[in-house]
């Protein structure tokens, strides 16, 4: 089958003083659409770096990367920006909502950036809000939203332009466990129902149970790759129905 994401021997090194620091040392991965993949590992092991590379926000220094059949490895920065605009939805740990804009305007930003007129973009964002059950907060400013609500606005923003790949960095870290679970349920649903690839980076063990697949990263290498769908299929189906 065609993979959503295919990494072969991905390497990433950063300048550090006189020398280099190897943060990713040959990552091999295939990720399928329709699945929620969790990448876990200790702090500093390279999770965020890997996520940035997968999303075309950072150019890797070795190996090859294909996302939906497109070779990111050979793209120029402006092409990468275009790729992000069309195919990637980012969800950040700290939400990064613009305080001056209402929830719905924030969520409409990816469409506005892609050239959709603001009114049309906001209408699309509103539909996303209804789906995520946050229609009632659409016109509020971020400062009047709880953390869980802000993260759901951020999810709406990551979905509004219908990207095929959703990348989330520690989406639950700033949330209490109830709000964190809600966010994970939403992400899982998005992956399952709309056949998109959702990748969540976390070291929050409480949310591992939502994963279809759990990849463990350590010191720049994949050390384990668990497929959880088979073992817990009935389990997660029950959750979705609830």
């Amino acid at each position: 089958m065609d993979y959503a994401v295919e990494c072969r021997d991905i390497q990433m090194r950063f300048r550090e003083g006189e020398g280099w620091r190897n943060v990713l040392r040959g990552v091999n991965l295939q990720i399928r659409s329709g699945e929620l993949t969790i990448i876990a590992g200790p702090s500093g092991c390279g999770k965020t770096t890997l996520l940035s590379i997968l999303g075309g926000a950072l150019a890797h220094t070795g190996g090859t990367l294909d996302v939906f059949g497109r070779r990111l490895s050979s793209m120029r920065p402006s092409q990468m920006a275009g790729f992000r605009r069309r195919h990637i939805g980012f969800i950040f740990q700290h939400y990064h909502l613009v305080p001056a804009l209402t929830a719905v305007e924030n969520a409409a930003m990816p469409l506005i950036i892609a050239g959709t007129p603001a009114a049309k973009a906001c209408a699309a964002a509103r539909r996303e809000f209804e789906r995520l059950d946050i229609g009632h907060i659409a016109d509020r400013l971020p400062k009047r939203l709880s953390g869980g609500q802000q993260q759901r606005v951020a999810i709406a923003r990551a979905l509004v332009h219908r990207p095929e790949l959703i990348l989330c960095d520690e989406p639950t870290a700033a949330l209490d466990s109830r709000a964190g679970e809600t966010v994970m349920e939403i992400l899982k649903e998005i992956a399952a129902q709309e056949s998109r690839a959702v990748i969540v980076v976390t070291h929050d063990q409480r949310v591992f149970s939502f994963a279809d697949r759990l990849i463990e990263l350590e010191d720049g290498l994949v050390i384990a790759d668990h497929n959880l769908t088979r073992n817990k299929g009935a389990d997660s189906a029950g959750q979705r129905a609830a």
Partner: protein, 377 residues
């Protein structure tokens, strides 16, 4: 995208206000100083525009001439009259004198005119008549000079004034445009002027052309026939202004103030814009991570700059306009001063350049910001 940029701008009311005020302040400073400068320079030639019935000015063109118009031979009047195309010619005498009003002693400027043709006389009289100048020891003073000599007094003809030790009587009040040098102007007949100052001689010869439209040609003919400088009045105004521009410290002083206004404005606007962009860097970077192009970030910033510049400029120029609307009526030194349209346009240009340049410099940080840093938190 642009409406988003403006929403972000207004959300930070404090910074927006600071930027608007910075722009307004430097607009005010530059426009007001530049306008005063332009008006002052124009005033250095105001006696030329004010002189009635004159098309051509004949002058000696030595370099230090304008501060101290030198002596032309009186016979030159007849020679000028004899040039074809000249309808009339008269002397224009000018000298600084000491005036003594019994309450104070000060410097004044004596202007001797031909009392019959009245060529070169100021065009407006507030009181009295030009005809009375024909009487011996009669004088007309400008309105501002009157208030200087007899502060607070109502206009009253027949008053006596000692000019260079000779007692004159007042027969009229003139209202010429404000002169470059703010000293009382004492108009007399050439005869009276000679009685006051026996050594006085014409500083200029004034001429009227048969056909005012051909004044420039007639001036050229006068110059050729007499060997003196002869200029149509607009050209002579320009020469006079040029003289003051190149031979006095006034332009330097104003250039310094105007430059300071520019620098202060640039500093305030650039700094607040830099802070503003810095604070928004996080969000601009998020837009970048979402795939926004550099051009989009730049046009967002440019839109913010233009709005700030437009509001700031409007406030500043309104302040300058208000100054020229109210102050010249109240303060004699600014009489007739106004806001020239050239100053308006050039200030607008400078202000928009400052705002755009500082905005675009600030946005460079966002343009260069690596999108992956947003994910790093």
């Amino acid at each position: 995208m642009l409406s988003i940029a403006l929403k972000i701008l207004w959300a930070d009311a404090g910074k927006s206000a600071a930027m608007v005020l910075g722009v307004a302040f430097s607009t005010l400073l530059m426009a007001q100083q530049a306008a005063i400068f332009v008006c002052l320079m124009a005033n250095s030639a105001s006696h030329i525009a004010a002189a009635q019935d004159v098309d051509i000015w004949v002058a000696d063109m030595r370099a230090d001439y304008f501060d101290d118009p030198g002596a032309l031979p009186e016979a030159l009047v007849e020679r000028v009259k004899s040039v074809p195309g000249v309808a009339a010619a008269a002397p224009y005498m000018r000298s600084s004198v000491v005036i003594d009003s019994t309450t104070m002693v000060e410097q004044g400027i004596l202007i001797g005119l031909d009392p019959y043709s009245l060529m070169g006389a100021p065009q407006k009289l507030v009181a009295g008549s030009f005809r009375s100048l024909r009487a011996s020891d009669a004088f007309i003073v400008d309105r501002r000079g009157y208030n200087d000599i007899w502060p607070g007094d109502d206009i009253e003809l027949g008053r006596r004034l000692e000019v260079d030790g000779r007692l004159l009587h007042l027969v009229g009040i003139a209202d010429p445009p404000s002169p470059f040098i703010s000293m009382p102007l004492i108009y007399t007949s050439t005869e009276t002027a000679k009685l006051i100052r026996p050594s006085i001689a014409p500083g200029f010869i004034l001429a009227r052309a048969n056909d005012p439209a051909a004044a420039a040609d007639v001036a050229a003919a006068i110059a050729e026939r007499t060997g003196y400088g002869a200029f149509e009045k607009e050209a002579f105004s320009e020469i006079t202004i040029d003289y003051y521009l190149t031979n006095t410290g006034i332009p330097i002083n104003f250039a310094i103030t105007i430059t300071l206004g520019f620098i202060v404005g640039t500093a305030i606007v650039a700094q607040t814009f830099y802070l503003f962009v810095s604070e928004n860097l996080r969000y601009l970077a998020v837009f970048k991570a979402m795939g926004a192009k550099a051009g989009q970030l730049i046009s967002m910033t440019a839109a913010q700059c233009i709005v700030i510049a437009a509001i700031g400029f409007s406030l500043g120029i309104a302040g300058a306009a208000w100054f020229f609307e109210t102050v010249p009526d109240k303060v004699a030194a600014f009489k007739g001063f106004y806001l020239p349209s050239g100053v308006f346009l050039k200030t607008a240009l400078a202000v928009f350049a400052i705002s755009l340049a500082s905005g675009l410099l600030s946005i460079q940080r966002a343009v260069r910001y690596a999108p992956a840093r947003v994910l790093q938190g």
